[in-house]
């Protein structure tokens, strides 16, 4: 028995040591904390699909061009179990133990904000795939770059659209998940609505983990809104949409973010998805031509469908987007030197399948207009901006 | 001499059922009193009320001049009220010595663990458990565990010791040994309340007898006069006594 315990321990030690294997400079090592288990695991899976597609493409093309060499992409994932402090530890581990050159952010605004402090301390540039709240970027950090545009780029065009198409609409009701991103987004919607003369007749928050929204929606219904905005994540928004129908909540426009842009959301709510509006930073109808490994939005969508059998949503696309932005910055810098790459990132002007990407002073993308979407006949249609619209905005709810 | 324990009008109800009604009882220092009565007469309830396991619904209890009717169990114990349980209650994972040491430390007022251990060794010797001191309490025989209960109670340095069915389940030889032990404890000056089914035990050691029946005190006096009390014998004791003698094969 004694022997087995000792040898088992020894075996474990060897396993532990194995991972820290030598890291010769024939690759670009990028660390990516992923929520593989826990509440965010659906999003973790999506992000990873995006990362993987990009890596496959780059490595198939020989790798990232650094000066006259081509370096393979080496992605290091660890599960942070959907726990923010764990994400911080993972970022720390990736930097100090895996000795990564660069970082991709964890999922979402909260964890990104927290992990960015670690990246900043170590001076490692971190590209954020899925953070759009100002609160993440206003800390004065130099190493954080986000490919999503600010939350107000959702609320402003949507408010414009509702104002234009529903001239008689006056009353707005907002229901927000009490969580960094959804709450920040809800605040932007309140601002955009007020700016255009809407009355915000209902603004309530619901707790994370709320199973039943009947009471909140009953109060919302009593406020008789013309336009309803609810923020949260996909499970919240499935339940909210269904319960709104159960309670016969009326209204002319129904905006839900983030959820309806995902195919799972549409499958889960079925006919109730009709005419729900949302916005996202990317949609497969996008027609950008790019300098990246994909060549164009259309080609990206095609490759994605070939690999995963479904159209990419914005989270999956953002996983590839952070890859191509970093790749272009490295190739322009001609080196893995973090300072040089950071300088290139700051310069911006990346033509990607995701859209043209440059970053504002605080490091958040401000160079493209995210599409406003509406579910029509079970399909996601772009209803704004006009240049890429595939359909026109419909009012009313089924 | 004033009473060590004084119960006045003590009543205890369980869901409307009166388990004890209007009990008046007084024990003097140094007495050995037998408490008898059939199953369900309220004997154990009476002990529980005195030791604070249950709180009386009415009446007063005074011990050594202090009102204890609403006192917590552990405080009552530290005042010098000790009891043994019908079903023995050792600390099973501790050794015999540790069990008694704990009792000496808390109820016995020892100043340190070392002092408590010395006291415990003394009580174990008194109860004839010295050679079992290192055994876990769970490994003792029933008779051994009953002795351990006694040793623990003695370690509390009790002024009043209530022995609840201390002989139940013992064979005649063990009963004799236990009785001898009880007599020696009494000699040290503690007041003893002996709760028993077995008449033999009571009559051999107690001078005074108290009879509980359906929660009421129906007799209280010297052994001989209680046993010869016509109402007690005919209405209650006679039948029960006879049955019990026959049943126990004594």
């Amino acid at each position: 028995m004694k022997l087995t315990v000792r040898s088992a321990l020894a075996g474990l030690m060897i396993m532990a040591a194995g991972n820290v294997a030598a890291n010769a400079k024939d690759s670009v090592v990028i660390g990516a904390p992923l929520p593989v288990t826990g509440a965010l695991s659906p999003e973790g899976t999506k992000l990873r699909q995006g990362y993987e597609l990009w890596r496959e493409q780059v490595n198939a093309a020989g790798g990232v061009k650094v000066g006259d060499r081509r370096l393979k992409v080496d992605l290091r994932y660890y599960d942070y179990q959907s726990q923010t402090p764990r994400a911080i530890q993972v970022a720390e581990k990736l930097i100090t133990d895996d000795k990564v050159d660069f970082l991709f952010s964890p999922f979402g605004s909260g964890a990104t904000k927290a992990a960015s402090a670690v990246a900043e301390k170590a001076g490692v540039p971190m590209i954020a795939s899925s953070a759009s709240s100002k609160e993440v970027f206003d800390q004065g950090y130099k190493n954080l770059f986000g490919v999503y545009t600010d939350n107000s780029t959702f609320s402003e065009p949507l408010a414009d659209l509702v104002k234009a198409k529903l001239p008689n609409a006056r009353r707005v009701a907002i229901l927000a998940r009490n969580d960094l991103y959804p709450l920040s987004l809800a605040n932007e919607f309140e601002k955009s609505a007020k700016k255009r003369g809407f009355d915000v007749v209902f603004f309530e928050k619901y707790a994370i983990g709320t199973l039943d929204h009947a009471s909140a929606l009953t109060q919302l219904r009593a406020a008789k809104p013309d336009w309803i905005v609810a923020t949260g994540y996909i499970n919240d928004l499935i339940t909210i949409r269904k319960q709104a129908a159960d309670l016969k909540v009326g209204g002319e426009a129904f905006t839900l973010i983030n959820g309806p842009a995902y195919q799972e959301w549409i499958s889960a709510v079925g006919p109730l998805a009709e005419n729900v509006t949302t916005a996202s930073w990317f949609h497969p109808v996008a027609r950008y031509s790019s300098d990246d490994v994909f060549g164009s939005s259309a080609k990206f969508v095609e490759l994605f469908k070939a690999k995963y059998g479904s159209e990419p949503d914005f989270t999956q696309a953002s996983g590839s987007a952070v890859g191509v932005v970093l790749q272009q910055a490295i190739e322009r810098a001609g080196s893995l030197d973090r300072d040089k790459v950071r300088a290139e990132l700051k310069k911006g002007g990346f033509k990607t399948f995701f859209g043209p990407i440059s970053f504002s002073d605080i490091g958040i993308a401000d160079s493209y207009v995210p599409p406003v979407l509406q579910i029509q006949d079970g399909k996601v249609q772009v209803v704004a901006p006009a240049e890429i619209a595939t359909s026109t905005f419909r009012t009313g709810l089924k | 001499m004033t009473a060590l324990l004084e119960l006045k009008g003590v009543t205890k109800r369980f869901r409307g059922l009166e388990a004890l009604s209007d009990i008046n009882l007084s024990l003097k220092s140094g007495e050995i009193v037998g408490l008898i009565g059939p199953n369900g007469a309220g004997k154990t309830t009476l002990v529980n009320v005195i030791t604070g396991v249950h709180t009386a619904d009415a009446g007063s209890i005074t011990f050594n001049g202090a009102p204890i009717a609403h006192m917590r169990r552990d405080r009552i114990a530290r005042l010098g009220v000790a009891r043994t349980f019908q079903v023995v209650q050792p600390f099973p994972a501790m050794t015999v010595l540790e069990n008694v040491t704990a009792a000496a430390l808390f109820g016995g007022g020892a100043a340190s663990i070392a002092e408590a251990r010395d006291a415990a060794a003394h009580h174990l010797a008194f109860c004839g458990l010295t050679d079992q001191a290192g055994k876990p309490a769970a490994n003792l025989t029933l008779a051994g565990r009953k002795r351990l209960e006694l040793a623990k109670s003695l370690a509390l340095r009790p002024k009043l010791l209530m022995l609840d069915e201390v002989n139940a389940g013992l064979n005649p030889a063990e009963v004799d040994a236990a009785l001898e032990l009880i007599t020696r404890i009494a000699a040290q000056g503690a007041t003893i309340l002996l709760i028993e089914h077995l008449m033999k035990v009571v009559t051999r050691t107690a001078r005074r007898l108290v009879v509980l029946h359906h929660g009421k005190l129906i007799a209280d006096g010297p052994v001989a006069s209680v046993l010869s009390d016509e109402t007690v014998v005919e209405a209650y004791l006679g039948r029960r006594y006879a049955e019990r003698m026959a049943g126990a094969g004594i």
Binding site: K2, L3, V5, R6, L12, M15, N19, L34, V36, T37, A39, Y77, D79, Q81, Q83, T84, P85, I88, Q89, E92, K93, I95, T96, D97, G110, K113, A114, A117, K121, E135, N178, L180, L183, A207, I208 | T51, R72, R73, D74, A77, A82, R83, Q89, P90, F91, P92, T95, T101, A102, A103, L105, F106, G107, G108, I113, A114, R117, K152, A155, L156
Partner: protein, 318 residues
């Protein structure tokens, strides 16, 4: 006599000081692991005081941990220095435990377990909805600690190891004190403990308070270490279960069991996590099942890990 007090006070700190000197120069990853070990050991030891020695199966670890973390976070955001923030965290958790104890320590067994489990849920809800102070669901950032002598990672390593040593000392002292005897009696038979004059209410409350003090302190240091906390993370139910697992792994109720258990648990957790991206938690679950089925007394059952089966100290002759 002096030695009996002085040794438990000094020994853990001496060991920890040596460990710190050896570890502080290693790379950041090892330091992080060692810091986590200190945290786990302190939590397991603290749980063991109420859950192991007193036998009250507390699931309130997450509650006191989260409370400590938030007290530190809020205090530091109001301008208090780190040391004050952490001190307040310990005091706050201990005080809360004292008050809470009078409400739930009269419950026994699983009723106590459930009541203690619910506390973390309540605190999480309150923290979530008290947005003006706690930042609500958005979480709260903590300022970086200002350090002079040590680097940041070294500071937290020192702090967590110190807490682990303090918790060990406290456990050893309790073990050989009246309180320890009282708690063991309560664990084995609470009614009998009262009958022999143990003031069970007082003893349980002290155990709960001392245990919570350490958990609160650890929570405070943790908050400062990770620099960002949110309610879901610090009031995580797993935080209540892990210390129990560790104590069980090492041997419940013994003084050094939790330390060994914390080490073994951390080793397992880290290895699985590093090597299995997707199914590490599933395997951990399976290992827990196997542990419960085949090693119900913990690692000390295996010959060759005799380290923990030291004699119960208060049993030893003076």
């Amino acid at each position: 006599m002096m030695l009996r007090i002085a040794l438990p006070l000094a020994l853990p700190f001496a060991i920890v000081a040596v460990a710190f000197v050896l570890l502080s120069q290693t790379d950041a990853y090892i330091i992080r692991l060692a810091t986590t070990f200190g945290m786990y050991a302190a939590l397991a030891l603290a749980w063991n005081i109420i859950g192991g020695i007193a036998g009250y199966p507390s699931f309130a670890t997450a509650a006191f941990f989260g409370l400590g973390a938030y007290v530190t976070a809020v205090a530091q955001n109001l301008g208090a220095p780190l040391l004050v923030g952490v001190g307040l965290a310990g005091a706050g958790a201990a005080l809360f435990a004292g008050l809470l104890g009078s409400a739930i320590l009269h419950l026994r067994g699983k009723y106590f377990a459930i009541a203690s489990l619910v506390i973390a849920e309540v605190l999480r809800e309150l923290t979530n909805s008290w947005t003006s102070v706690t930042g609500g669901g958005m979480g709260i950032n903590l300022p970086l600690a200002k350090t002079t002598l040590l680097t940041q990672p070294q500071l937290y390593l020192a702090a967590m190891l110190f807490l682990a040593a303090a918790a060990t000392s406290a456990s050893m002292l309790i073990d050989r004190s009246r309180l320890g005897v009282a708690l063991r009696c309560i664990a084995q038979n609470e009614d009998a403990a009262q009958i022999i004059g143990v003031d069970t209410r007082m003893a349980k409350t002290w155990a709960f308070v001392i245990s919570s003090l350490f958990i609160g302190l650890v929570g405070g240091v943790y908050a400062s270490w990770v620099t960002y906390i949110d309610p879901t993370d610090v009031y995580d139910g797993a935080m209540s279960v892990k210390p129990i697992l560790m104590a069980l792994l090492g041997g419940v109720g013994s003084v050094f069991g939790p330390v060994l258990g914390a080490f073994a648990y951390l080793l397992l957790e880290e290895l699985l996590w590093r090597n299995l991206l997707e199914f590490h938690a599933g395997i951990l679950g399976l290992l827990v099942v196997l542990l419960v089925l085949f090693l119900p007394g913990g690692l000390s059952q295996i010959r060759g890990v005799g380290l923990v089966s030291l004699p119960k100290i208060w049993r030893r002759a003076p």
